[in-house]
Symmetry: D2
């Protein structure tokens, strides 16, 4: 931590600042400039992390130097992590494709969707059995019945299952049917859920919050890792901005940022990221070119009758066209399905 003193601060104020730091078991290092004195704080990071100095008289501002996340940082683990999902690798030289409907609606819908995405080349079936919806009057999902349908349709087609968890009480139930727990954007800082998933035996895919900074996102991942579960996949799904043409603003620079800051694999969701099916294909290509480790795509056999998010779902035909391109762009990136 660096403490910038006010130009008007007194020697007594500076002495108090130094005293507080020393009392905490830390050391100081002074840098006296023409109009401001700057105090560097040196010592145990955990103690520094809890040091509150801004309220001290004479202090203008403080600057924190080190990040609090550790297990998920690239500093801690320089090589890319590859997560093993029931035998399917996510990360490294692989492109993981997760596809399927937004919500599980019926056996027919799901079987049709699963067959289509498997043919297209996806390794994972996605689908929501528990849906976090803005309004209490919206369709909330089929719960365990939906999970069963997911598992069955996935098994029929050689796919793994990724599905959202919205309640820690459902952890065992979902764990019976799914291969990856998905944490949605609205729950990215639901710390109780993250702590519970830190004890889970299966991988977790953590979506970025609606307006989460990259730093907050990695700290959220650290909650899971700190609990003992280091099988974490990140998922960029668009952030909230002032632009209204798209549902969210897909932040592909987050892919490059995560690759610099962390060793975890990162998946991109161009369906929620744009909210418009016509934009899913160009954004999927761009995500692969940016260096992501996979995609999660909404595919619905009949998007015009979907119970939710029909606007952003691809038809199986469009999904196939997208996959052809993903293979080509993936090859240039040295990644294969």
């Amino acid at each position: 931590m660096i403490i910038v003193m006010k130009p008007t601060s007194t020697e007594a104020e500076l002495a108090n600042v130094e005293k507080k730091i020393k009392n905490a078991g830390l050391k100081t290092h002074l840098s006296v400039g023409d109009d401001r004195t700057i105090v560097g704080v040196i010592g145990d990071k955990k103690i520094i992390a809890n040091l509150e100095m801004n309220m001290m008289p004479g202090v203008e501002k403080t600057v924190r130097i080190t990040e609090k996340y550790k297990i998920v940082s690239r500093e801690f683990h320089p090589e890319d992590s590859v997560i093993d999902v029931a035998g399917v690798p996510v990360g490294g030289k692989h492109l993981a494709i997760m596809a399927g409907p937004c919500a599980v609606e019926s056996v027919e819908q799901l079987e049709e969707a699963a067959e289509a995405v498997a043919k297209g080349g996806a390794q994972f079936l996605r689908g929501g059995a528990f849906k976090p919806r803005t309004s209490p009057y919206d369709f909330q999902g089929l719960a365990e019945q939906g999970l069963k349908m997911l598992r069955t349709a996935a098994d029929h087609n050689g796919l793994k299952v990724v599905t959202e968890i919205v309640d820690k009480d459902d952890m065992d139930l979902i764990g019976e049917y799914a291969d990856i727990y998905q944490v949605g954007a609205r729950n990215m800082q639901n710390f109780q859920l993250l702590k519970a998933l830190g004890k889970a035996k299966k991988p977790v895919m953590l979506k970025r919050g609606l307006s989460a900074t990259i730093r907050e996102w990695l700290n959220a991942a650290e909650y899971i890792a700190a609990g003992g579960n280091e099988n974490i996949i990140l998922c960029e799904r668009g952030i909230r901005t002032y632009e209204t043409f798209t549902r969210n603003t897909l932040d592909l620079s987050a892919v490059a940022a995560i690759k610099e800051l962390s060793h975890l694999p990162i998946i991109v969701d161009p369906s929620h990221g744009t909210g418009r099916w016509e934009m899913v294909r160009p954004m999927a290509r761009a995500a692969v070119a940016a260096g992501c480790d996979g995609l999660i795509i909404e595919v619905h056999p009949h998007p015009e009758v979907a119970l939710s998010d029909g606007d952003q779902s691809l038809t199986p035909k469009n999904f196939n066209a997208l996959m052809d391109e993903v293979r080509q762009f993936g090859a240039l990136m040295g990644k294969t399905l």
Copy 2:
């Protein structure tokens, strides 16, 4: 719902759109313009709410006319609601003042804080026993021990208790000690928690999410109301913007907006809203002038040693000065403590 057809749409596409609407048990009303046909959808709002039309061929866009929240809307309940919190009214002609430290740290800290805020005129003691923190390595609160300290210090000073709930499993425990359940910004769309609180016997204060729209906020409140608990207090605490001088951007126009759209009382949190203690006082005055029903203020007997959020906490002396002004501005608004 209004459906805008593309200028290039065909008669067959229009016929399909009309057919889908009629099949759902709804009626259409056509408006044929020079270059676009517009289809109005008439009928049961709940059915319309689930109608997905954007994927239909020939459709340019759809516009939803009615909001999904109902119980919390002013249309449904034209008069201002006054919430009874263990005998203390919140809403209407009253100004509710909630004050205390960010986190409960010790008996001494809390007793000192409770005495100070009671003297200043607050009716509620605030303090976190369960803290949702960005990093897993930050102080997470004293849990039940903290709740007990809160209740004791509040009782010693004739105050009611408001404290944050972060886990639905804690509902009974917190209900034993607190008078209001506070839902923090990060949990505004933790729908499982909201559903649980819909069954609670005590009032809920729902903070606006970091980047929640007013519409999403009211829908979140509707989750609680739909469960049977209509004792809801809203709390504006700043939204996330690009500005970095303040911790958040306190959106006081939300006060006026809520007064127009809803009958629920709304409290303002200038401490989190600005993140700078020097700005708490002007923003508290402004919030009262905007028409809010109360304030929640961080007060710490010794903010320079606080374990969290010291930068935004007032000393008891500054809190008293603030309360003098709040009384004067409240009087102009026809509101008393």
Copy 3:
């Protein structure tokens, strides 16, 4: 400036960094921590301002300590500035009220509006003769004809004139008729216009840009001041956020921030800030309570027929009601019209 070295940086990299700083005529001050070395840069601020260190090998990040604006800063001029606008003071113990239609439309409209706002207590007539409009096909203003109408209607009612300048070539022309040049949000960083106004003989009101930080805003004001014109009034008019219920998000914390950072007076525009006439009154009260030095309000004798921004204009009757409240809240703040 503070330079944070990477944990992996070498001694040679550090030596290079120090060398570059010394070659620029500056001094360094090292602070060696457990995992990072921090280099403080000491010396002439202007040289430091142009120092680029981030690209140097071994550098993790740099932190700038001092702001670049100077003449407009409170450090430079601790007392509040009071701007004399043709005999009417803006700032200090005064509340300046600027009111009138968005655009000058006709003699009748303007005379009616001027009479109404003067009766209500405004000292300034506002109205646009040159309108910066999003679309080239929107009404662009009456130009000189509009300026004449403004001057005449203002003189008939003992008002001063504030009107927008969108082109530096119009500086003399507008200067003939107006008392304050208004720079609109879209032109806040039109540096050519700002430089020209630095040579103007009349005060300038500088609106905050759509997404300008407070720091950028003060730097824009510094452009005018650096040119020699220190008669600058700032105007908060709402910033762009994701919220769609209001046209912009009126950032009243900017009032408190400006009071801390600068000596310049600050006016608030609740009409553009909210875009909804029903919200103008509560936000005007809140602005006064936050400590602003005045308001600029859209008033139109017949808002339902206005050529632009009718949605956010008050009728004369509503303006009078607002002014009654402004006087009361102003009195509490020690400010009079």
Copy 4:
């Protein structure tokens, strides 16, 4: 335009609304729902564009259906436009690469940069002779001297010149030396500059404003087109969000959006879009994969000594590596340099 009446509106209010519309020479079409009446407005788009209905008693809200821009819309011109820049095509099957330093600093710097970018495959030399800087005390550019250096260095290496215009008075001067006028983000809504460029004989590259919507951007382009100059290239350069890790958030979905809404070519600026040189390469690849028509990249022979924006500049070596990838990804998109 669609007008939604309040549920509480009266027949008299509805009659007034209809009367106003008919008086404007337009027709109405009523749609009477269970709780709201909706009025469609039919007729001349230009008249509708200026109709203000929100203030009418009984009106809840209005929805505008058609966009105001026309010449730049894809509806108006379904094929992609290819802009001829002194013999070099921009748009269609071509990838235009513009590269060079942020600011022109010296003959040596520029000659070295021009040679490097030409070798790498760029067709355009970029460089600022007039710099719009946040602070008046920052380096403002070499003006005409810089333009001459640009032209000379470009000619020596067979490149075209793109450079920023910040003042309409410089139009002729810049036109003598440059091949494309660049309008910077801060000037996107400097309508006087846009109108002047509508009369220019050379193409204009219009950068997206810091927080401009796609709709505002296309309307700004329409200003240039409406003046007679249809040789417009758009440039996405990142938008302002809450994220601080990157300088801006590069919005690559804007590429797909522009391709849907407009026939104009679109260039992407990953240097300003990210503000970090390490991220330029992945974002350049992603931009090409998203379907852009070219890139503008900051290249500096010695970024560590650059007078501005050194942090985001590539070395010639990194630029070459980037170009190798751009060629490969461009080939997949059917585009060549």
